[in-house]
């Protein structure tokens, strides 16, 4: 489907001999609430990890808004590889003969309290640097260039589809075993989630330039608004680690929403919640959709799943066994079998 926001195409995840997810395809329509359900160990969280770049799918691919979110092979990559190659080459060539070069370019030319011939020094330095013959100059240059360029290239190729790249493409998530930043306050947790929208660079940060302070103030205001949205505004300055469990889940949702994602992936948001909290959560998830954010969730609470989902995908033993609206899934014999077991006949 071309209109889908997330398109999982034939994803297989193998860990050694174990196939956790086997040839799963599913599409998430923009603006929908989609649920992924299945018994424990069915591969739901593994699928989430494959979507968000925590794992690299063994086979298949995941498209977000029709394209594969990964670092593109661009001019910047080529530039980086060349810069690393040249830089390392010069570094190695200078290092292996640093004393000779120093002697020629500085010590031999310097007379106490006489003006120093800078231009001549540079000339002498370059002549000495490139006049070292095969072993003094060219082999170090060559080895350095290969080492630097190859190293830079390998790093690029192995970090093409890391979670930060996928998150940068507008996919936010929460975790099954809550992963907040426990020693930061609630506001700061949310502001971290906002990071991809912030522009403050190192220089602005270190000198506390007005632009940095302004951005910080507006980011905190936005964060407070989000905390209001999930109902935690009164605890904004507490440490996240001190929150009760249910609140931690809601804070995680606020943090994920902070980046203004296209889609938010919720991994068992209702786990450990009591019935009232669960009802609140359902209201919250609907409100998230109202804001224009697509929702994908993994959930075991059937009341939540059946109550809010537009579309449900069922996994069992890593394979997708059914897909449909809540009504269809409720009456699907394969799903009933997966959850309740098969009825023994006569």
């Amino acid at each position: 489907m071309s209109g889908s926001l997330i398109s999982v195409q034939g994803v297989t995840m193998r860990f050694g001999g174990l196939t956790a997810v086997k040839d799963v395809s599913l599409d998430v329509a923009r603006g929908s609430i989609t649920a992924v359900i299945g018994p424990n160990g069915a591969g739901k969280t593994t699928l989430f990890n494959a979507i968000t770049g925590v794992y690299e799918p063994t086979e298949g691919q995941v498209l977000v808004s029709g394209r594969d979110p990964q670092r593109q092979f661009s001019g910047r990559v080529i530039g980086g590889v060349i810069a690393a190659g040249v830089g390392t080459a010069l570094f190695v060539a200078v290092t292996v003969r640093v004393e000779t070069l120093w002697q020629a370019a500085i010590i031999d030319l310097y007379q106490f309290q006489q003006p120093f011939p800078w231009l001549k020094s540079v000339g002498v330095f370059l002549a000495a640097l490139f006049g070292g013959g095969l072993w003094g100059t060219w082999i170090p240059l060559f080895l350095g260039a290969v080492l630097g360029a190859a190293g830079r290239f390998v790093i690029w190729s192995r970090t093409r589809r890391t979670p930060d790249v996928v998150a940068g493409a507008g996919v936010a998530r929460t975790f099954q075993n809550i992963r907040l930043f426990p020693e930061l306050s609630l506001v700061e947790n949310v502001v971290v989630g906002m990071d991809r929208r912030l522009a403050t660079g190192f220089a602005a940060a270190v000198f506390a330039l007005p632009s940095a302070l302004r951005e910080r103030a507006s980011a905190r205001a936005d964060a407070l608004e989000l905390l209001e949205f999930v109902g935690l505004a009164d605890k904004a300055e507490d440490a996240a680690g001190n929150l009760p469990y249910g609140h931690q889940r809601r804070l995680e949702i606020a943090r994920a929403l902070a980046s203004r994602p296209e889609v938010i992936l919720l991994d068992e948001p209702a786990a450990g919640m009591n019935p009232t909290e669960t009802v609140d959560l359902m209201r919250l998830i609907r409100a998230i959709r109202e804001r224009g954010t697509t929702v994908v969730l993994i959930e075991h609470h059937m009341r939540v799943v059946m109550g809010i989902s537009d579309r449900i995908h069922v996994l069992q033993y890593g394979e997708k066994i059914a897909e449909g609206t809540p009504t269809e899934i409720k009456s699907d014999p394969k799903c009933i079998e997966a959850y309740l077991g098969k009825e023994e006949l006569g």
Binding site: V54, S121, D164, R173, V187, D195, V206, E237, R255
Partner: protein, 346 residues
């Protein structure tokens, strides 16, 4: 509930604690007026030098959660860069202020060069790399006598001078105040970083690298910046150290013990807290470099100790007291004198 927060939502350039510690330090020359025989301004400058070193280490260890066991190597790089750039032995002679600035820049570059290929290593492995780097730098300096003068050290080096104004007859008090001003500037910059997007990224990476990654933060880049910033401060402290000694001293002045001393300052004072690190430097370095010599002198004058009697010289108890204090600290106040790690970042 929130424990002792360091600052509210509004940015302030320094906390009351930081101002108080800096103010206390500023009283040192007054003590010299009251007790002229003590001459504290000189030794107290080493307290400032180590405070800057430990603030640099705190960025890496306390804020970003990377164990760096080779911070002394960057101090050495800073000291030698300052010496080469300012000494009359070489043609550069850029003067004190350009010397310390350029030393910091060179330190940052060195940190970046070391960090770029190695920061993807995790935990202990990175610690081993930094440990090895510390040894390599020392050996390198020892074995390049044409540049570093080997074990003689490069000397003499310029004393700190006030910019723009020519004042004859420099006094230890004036030098002390120049050092203190540099420290105040470093505290200000560190605090800016702590409360900026940069600091927030570092904290997030420290608390949960994967979660930070899923918030579109690139941990590798954040770590590299932390490493370079820490190295820059360490190099700055090295430059101030060399200026204080008026010599680089020998390369083994910057050995593993200095790295551990810096780590002790951070841990004893209060990891991740600027105020804590300042207090730690005063307590640890103040004890070994200021208090012990004063006590020793006093005892010698009173005839209580002599060089002949090993047991009667307080200097020989230095490491005994040190070790005991560390054990007691770990038992009764594992978060350091200033409980900052647990303080909520607001």
């Amino acid at each position: 509930m929130s424990r002792t927060g360091t600052s509210g939502a509004r940015f302030s350039p320094m906390t009351r604690g930081q101002l108080a510690v800096l103010g206390l330090l500023a009283l040192t020359p007054l003590l010299d007026l009251v007790f002229p025989s003590l001459q504290l301004s000189g030794p107290m400058r080493t307290v400032i030098v180590y405070a800057i070193l430990a603030l640099g280490l705190n960025i890496v260890v306390g804020w970003t959660g990377l164990l760096n066991l080779g911070i002394a190597a960057f101090m050495a790089i800073g000291a030698y860069a300052f010496a080469i750039l300012t000494s009359e032995v070489y043609p550069f002679q850029v003067g004190f202020w350009w010397g310390i600035v350029l030393a910091g820049v060179i330190g940052a570059l060195a940190g970046w060069l070391l960090g770029a290929p190695t920061l993807r290593l995790r935990g202990d492995y990175l610690a081993i790399v930094t440990l090895g780097f510390g040894e390599i730098v020392q050996d390198g300096l020892k074995n390049l006598p044409a540049i570093t003068k080997g074990t003689e050290g490069i000397n003499p080096l310029p004393e700190p001078m006030l910019p723009l104004v020519e004042v004859s007859g420099e006094t230890p008090a004036r030098w002390f105040f120049i050092y203190l001003a540099v420290l105040a500037l470093v505290v200000f910059l560190c605090r800016n970083l702590e409360f900026s997007r940069m600091g927030r990224q570092w904290f997030a990476v420290r608390e949960d690298e994967l979660a930070a990654r899923c918030m579109a933060i690139e941990p590798d880049k954040a770590k590299l910046k932390a490493f370079a910033a820490g190295a820059a401060l360490a190099a700055l402290s090295g430059a101030l150290y060399a200026s204080h000694l008026s010599s680089t001293g020998e390369p083994s002045n910057y050995d593993f013990q200095i790295s551990i001393l810096a780590l002790c300052i951070v841990i004893v004072g209060g990891i991740a807290s600027i105020t804590g690190v300042l207090v730690g430097a005063i307590v640890v370095v103040g004890f070994s470099n200021v208090l012990l010599p004063v006590v020793t002198q006093a005892m010698q004058r009173a005839g209580l100790s002599s060089t002949g009697n090993v047991l009667a010289s307080p200097d020989n108890y230095k490491y005994l007291i040190f070790g005991l204090a560390l054990v007691l600290m770990m038992r009764y106040r594992p978060d350091g004198i200033v409980h900052a790690r647990k303080a909520v970042r607001k």
